[in-house]
Amino acid sequence: MFRLYQAVNKHMKIYVLFMKNSLIGYMEYRANLFAALTMELVYLFSKILYVIAIYQTGIDINGVSPDEIMLFIGTYIIMTAIYTGLFMDNFYQLPEHIRNGTLDIYITKPLSLQFIATMRHVNFILPVPNLIAGITMVVLACQRLQISICFMNAAGYLLTLLSSTCIVYAVFLIPQILSFWTVKSGAITEIADRCWDFNNMPMTIYNKWMQRIGVFIIPVFFITNLPSMFLVDKLNHVYAVWMVIAPVVFLTLVRVFWNFAVRNYTSASS
């Protein structure tokens, strides 16, 4: 137990250093900073376009009101901020590390290889507009839906977001791990990215089977829908239990898959 605590503590300290290095990098290349910000603002507006489109119709879509849809899209934007901030850069760079053999350097470090390869970079720029817009939309939707923003609701929502974050890490890392075999993964990345867009709308617009697959088998719908369903009190017992079990299942799965993939890694530089 003590060794586990020590390992976690060490990785946490290293993660703070990673964050610091990433921030220094962003401050150094300010042209990149503005370019990224411009890009993200345009993407953000295209996500808000969905709210505009639904709001103007004033229709409850399959029992989901426009205000609830704003809550869903707000959560989707918050989750986009988390994904782009914590994982996206690392996941995109993984195939590069495999192709160029830079993964060799990480293997020699006295740290978990998966940790260093998938969490080394923290993006401080892309999440900013998304976090501001996402939180604003969620708070606004809560007010309109008369959901009290009390400690219990806030804590519960944060816990569901944490659960979704674990799922994001696992589900979107798996396609990148395939690059241990395919080496190039541009198409895989693009398809995985497009899968992310399935969260743009509440899963109630899809049929029952798609919903089941999207929550239990390839849990893409899990990411945005379950935290939002918690807030509007539509989270049934099965989903509530799954919110606790799913992160454990999928994080274990990704860990096993990672170890299996690393065993097949042939260094590009040797």
């Binding site: 042209a31 890009m39 603002l41 345009v42 639904i54 103007q56 693009e190 899968c195």
Partner: protein, 269 residues
């Protein structure tokens, strides 16, 4: 080498490149199909949840056909050469075009059309297939004459989009890191051209403003020709505007490039 032969070779190079990266192209259609799928589910759910048979002026078959055609037309007119131009400007690849008897603009447009010709054919077949399915399952009013009118509009839209991006790519003369602008411009153009939602959702006022810009002629206008939302005189007016925008963008791109070339430092030369 004679001028037509020279540029025909550039056209062939574009065609070869499209054939070489065909897997990439098909996968990009697959990923683009996800967006269309989301839109189709969304609008089906919207129409199923209301008594009103018309939303934003569209019936369900029209909205579904718009969502499909918007996605496909956006793919037909998409560019991608701007990254190569930025690379040429940044790393000095443009040097060889300065010293060789070949015009960079003509070379680029011939390459672009060469790349597009095969993709256009495949996307047209997919479009037709999707529209026939809409007709069978949703009762969409598919008319051959609209399809025939649609074809030249798509080709003009392709040329117009080429010119827009040719202008945008000239930003690489003044910016070292231009990737963010390219991605933002791509998404911005997609939105303003009606590639995500029909422009009608913005309301009458904004639609009027958007009508003063060239973007609506890239996706919204061709996709709605298939939908039969325009009278013949509106189509004629649209065609004149589209051609007018092509002429305007020709002058603008020329001016941008002339000013950019004055700033060009031939790296590696």
């Amino acid at each position: 080498m004679s001028i037509p032969k020279k540029y025909f070779r550039a056209f062939q190079m574009g065609l070869q490149s499209a054939m070489e990266y065909r897997a990439d192209f098909f996968l990009s259609i697959l990923s683009g199909g996800f967006i269309i799928l989301i839109q189709c589910f969304l609008w089906t759910a919207v129409f199923a949840s209301t008594q009103n048979p018309v939303v934003y002026g569209y019936t369900l078959p029209q909205m579904i056909s718009y969502s499909i055609m918007a996605g496909l037309v956006a793919k037909m007119t998409s560019t991608g050469f701007e990254w190569e131009i930025a690379e040429d400007i940044k790393n000095g690849g443009l040097n060889k075009f300065i010293v060789q008897p070949i015009g960079y603009f003509y070379y680029r447009i011939c390459c672009f059309l060469g790349r597009k010709v095969l993709q256009l054919g495949i996307l047209m077949i997919i479009s037709l297939f999707a529209l026939v399915l809409c007709k069978i399952y949703l009762g969409f009013d598919l008319q051959l004459k609209r399809v025939l009118i649609f074809l030249p509009f798509v080709v003009l839209a392709m040329v117009l989009n080429f010119l827009i991006y040719y202008c945008i790519s000239s930003l690489a003369f003044v910016m070292t890191e231009v990737w963010g602008v390219f991605i933002a411009a791509g998404q911005g153009v997609l939105m303003l051209s009606g590639g995500i939602f029909p422009l009608d959702i913005f309301g009458e006022g904004i639609l009027k403003v958007l009508s003063l810009l060239p973007f609506k002629y890239l996706v919204f206008f061709p996709a709605n020709i298939i939908n039969g939302r325009f009278y013949p005189d509106e189509i004629l007016y649209g065609a004149i505007n589209q051609i007018l925008w092509i002429v305007i963008m020709l002058f603008v791109s020329n001016a941008c490039w002339r000013s950019g070339m004055k700033k060009y430092v031939a790296v590696g030369g």
